[in-house]
């Protein structure tokens, strides 16, 4: 049926790639907004993995998609929180460079 048979390994590779991009971004970007985007990518990679694994293990069940929706809602809430922190931060420190935000150093 399929022109290009997609197996579990493809999904795993996709998720790993996405997660690694996100992680790389998280560790290297200096802008706070960039970090946020990187985190979103990581969260989404996890969501895709969940959907794929549940679809393979229990075909026909919608649990995976449901939890993906849940993930999206969660990510939305998280973005709201993060932006809530980001906006006042951007006001006081327009550069948005996270390496400068080290007030909590011990």
């Amino acid at each position: 049926m399929s022109f290009f048979p997609v197996g579990i390994q493809h999904w795993l590779l996709l998720c790993l790639a996405l997660f690694s991009f996100g992680l790389y971004g998280l560790l290297t970007r200096r802008s706070a907004m960039g970090l946020l985007l990187a985190i979103e990518i990581m969260v989404n990679s996890a969501a895709v993995l969940v959907v794929a694994l549940i679809h393979l293990l229990h075909p026909g069940k919608l649990d995976g998609q449901l939890s993906a929706l849940f993930f999206i809602a969660l990510a939305a809430a998280e973005v709201v929180l993060a932006l809530g922190i980001y906006v006042p931060l951007a006001r006081s420190r327009p550069s948005g460079d996270v390496t400068q935000l080290n007030d909590l150093r011990g």
Partner: protein
């Protein structure tokens, strides 16, 4: 000790005065509470009269009790010990309980009369003596408290009640010695008195604990064997004095060479020695004279200081069964009576002379008890007899001295003089007391001293007899010395010239006590309190004793007359040079105070307490602080990880997660 009176006590058919004897101590307690909680705060002026009234009620009740008791059991017959008004105060274990109650036997009645009489007269006298003192309300409240405690002590049917009241008399004595609390000397004297007696009380407490333990252990067996009457408790005197108990204790293995009966009794003797100011615990009594003089008369001459003697007399059957403690008592008594009499000859403060005289006489009493034995209990009677007579003439001496001090405003006998004419009533009563304590017939002291000397001689204690005879000569000497210097000759100071007779409220007690000092010796004491009614009961004058004793007394009086009548400075100086450095040693009371002071200041304060305080703050607390410092240092080093760099944290998180995953993988892969 026979069955019949106990049944009588249980059936409640005793005369009212004996049934209600518990009221005797409680009346002054009521006076204390009423005075302290109601009258004093309201600043009512008749508080002293109320206080004296309560004691008078006790006196009357105790006299009624004496009459009732000897009405039931006539003098000369076997006297039982009754316990009335008992309550179960402190049940500790099943089989170990401490009650409160009143023990009625001839000895407690004797002390009851002494305490009530002297206390009442001192209350009366104090109304005059303390009339102008702003703290007199406090004074009378304390005096009532003391009277309560002392009566409770005298009537105690068991060792715990005795201990409780023993501590309470100590506390009230402390409060009264420190009555003039603005005066540093009074404050330190009160502390000294309390602490020294407290130290001795350690012995009493340990003795009480040991005897309670022995009683608790042995009582069930004794009761099962029917050897002791039912209803006894472990610390009851009736048990501790019971021959079956002694037998059972002596059957136990001894501890460090002392029988288990001797050991607790020696501990009790230590407590007794502290309270009765025996050498070397006597140091508090001369200082205790810092209190108001009537207090010295009541507490430090007639009543509290004889508590130690009373304790030994109370447990006499036990002491006699153990013997060793009695030997120690005789030694202590003899030593103290000689030692204190020698010092008394050298002091110039009238109250201190009297204090050392009290020490000496207390030694006399203890000596008398010490020479008594189970089969020859004359010393027991003699010691208590002397306690009885001494209470009257010694409190009279103190009250007389108080009147003199009141008039002259000084304690120094060399600032008095010529008071014979200025204070005739005081003079007469003081003279009677001096002659009574000197032991001249037919005054009270003669009879009781006579008994003591006879007890020592007939008991075969010749050394003790010799010492007692020497003291019988020293006593008249120092008493006549202060009498001659203070009352004879001419006034040596302005205030002595201005002196005048005390008011009637003060002289009446003096005269009453003088009367008692004359007559108290005429009682056939052995018939009332004697233990062995069989053979030693006949009362009268024993010429083999009376002649040397009277000769010794006359010798002492004559020597004092030779040295102190008129101006005899040259003779005194000759005598002083004859004594040489010894005179200084005596004058400084053999430096016993200094030795104790060294021990307290240098050893306890500097040597133990200060290092402990330092150790606690530095070493123990230092260890705690070191732990705190360590954890803080550790924390400080760990704060370096808190860089504030978000991405740094993220890297750590990544590393941690990977380590966790790898670790788990290895762990699970291993299976």
């Amino acid at each position: 000790m026979t069955a019949a009176p106990e049944m009588l006590a249980q059936s409640g058919r005793l005369p009212f005065a004996l049934e209600a004897l518990w009221l005797v101590p409680l009346l002054p307690l009521a006076g204390f509470l009423l005075g302290g909680l109601v009258l004093r705060p309201l600043k009512l002026r008749w508080l002293p009269q109320v206080a004296a009234g309560f004691v008078l009620a006790s006196l009357l009740l105790s006299l009624a009790a004496v009459k009732a008791f000897f009405g039931l059991f006539p003098p000369g017959s076997e006297h039982p010990a009754l316990v009335t008004g008992a309550i179960d105060w402190l049940p500790v274990l099943p089989g170990l309980s401490f009650g409160l109650g009143t023990l009625i036997d001839p000895v407690s009645l004797l002390l009851l009369v002494v305490v009530c009489t002297v206390s009442f007269l001192v209350h009366l006298y104090s109304i005059g003596y303390m009339a102008d003192d702003p703290g007199k309300a406090r004074y009378f409240v304390f005096l009532n408290l003391f009277t309560f405690s002392m009566l409770g002590l005298v009537l105690a049917p068991n060792l715990l009640q005795l201990f409780v009241c023993w501590e309470l008399v100590g506390a009230s004595s402390f409060l009264l010695i420190g009555f003039y609390f603005d005066k540093p000397s009074a404050v330190s004297a009160s502390k000294k008195a309390f602490i020294v007696t407290r130290f001795a009380d350690l012995g009493l407490l340990l003795g009480l604990l040991s005897l309670a333990w022995l009683g608790f252990r042995l009582l069930p067996g004794l009761q099962a064997a029917g050897a002791v009457p039912p209803g006894l408790e472990a610390a009851d005197f009736a048990l501790l004095n019971h021959p079956a108990f002694h037998e059972a204790v002596l059957a136990l293995p001894p501890f460090v060479g002392l029988s288990l009966l001797s050991l607790p009794l020696l501990l009790l003797l230590m407590g007794a020695a502290g309270k009765s100011a025996m050498f070397p615990l006597h140091i508090w009594l001369p200082d205790a004279m810092e209190g108001p003089t009537p207090v010295s008369a009541l507490i430090h001459a007639a009543t509290m200081v004889v508590a130690g003697i009373y304790l030994v007399a109370r447990l006499f059957p036990a002491f006699a069964a153990a013997v060793t403690p009695l030997e120690v008592a005789a030694f202590l008594g003899a030593l103290t009576c000689l030692f204190a009499a020698v010092i008394a000859c050298s002091q110039d403060d009238i109250k201190r002379v009297l204090a050392f005289s009290t020490l000496s006489q207390l030694g006399y009493m203890l000596l008398a008890l010490g020479v008594a034995r189970a089969d020859h209990a004359l010393g027991h009677t003699a010691g208590l007899f002397h306690l009885f007579t001494h209470a009257f003439f010694k409190s009279l001496l103190f009250l007389g001295a108080g009147a003199v001090i009141h008039a002259v405003h000084s304690n120094d006998i060399w600032r008095m003089g010529g008071l014979r004419k200025k204070m005739p009533l005081t003079h007469i009563s003081f003279l009677v007391a001096v002659l009574a304590i000197a032991g001249l017939p037919p005054l009270a002291g003669f009879f009781s001293k006579d008994e003591i000397l006879r007890a020592a001689l007939e008991g075969g204690h010749t050394t003790v007899y010799g010492i007692a005879l020497a003291v019988a000569a020293l006593t008249p000497f120092y008493m006549a010395r202060i009498y001659l210097v203070a009352f004879g000759g001419t006034a040596r100071s302005e205030s002595a010239k201005q002196a005048h007779e005390a008011p009637a409220i003060m002289t009446i007690p003096l005269l009453l006590l003088a009367l008692l000092s004359v007559c108290a010796g005429w009682l056939p004491m052995a018939e009332y309190i004697g233990l062995d009614h069989g053979h030693a009961a006949h009362h009268g004058i024993h010429w083999n004793i009376a002649l040397p004793a009277t000769a010794a007394a006359l010798l002492g009086l004559a020597l004092a007359g030779w040295l102190y009548t008129g101006d005899r400075r040259a003779r005194r100086e000759a005598l002083a040079s004859l004594l040489g450095p010894l005179g200084g040693v005596i004058r400084n009371k053999f430096y016993i105070d200094e030795i104790w002071l060294f021990f307290a200041r240098r050893v306890i304060f500097r040597g133990i307490s200060a290092p402990i305080a330092w150790f606690d703050r530095t070493v123990v607390d230092g260890a705690v602080n070191a732990v705190g410092w360590l954890s803080r240092a550790l924390g400080a080093s760990l704060t370096l990880l808190q860089s504030g760099q978000l991405q740094g944290y993220a890297s750590w998180m990544l590393a941690g997660t990977m380590a966790l995953v790898l670790g788990l993988g290895m762990l699970l892969g291993g299976n």
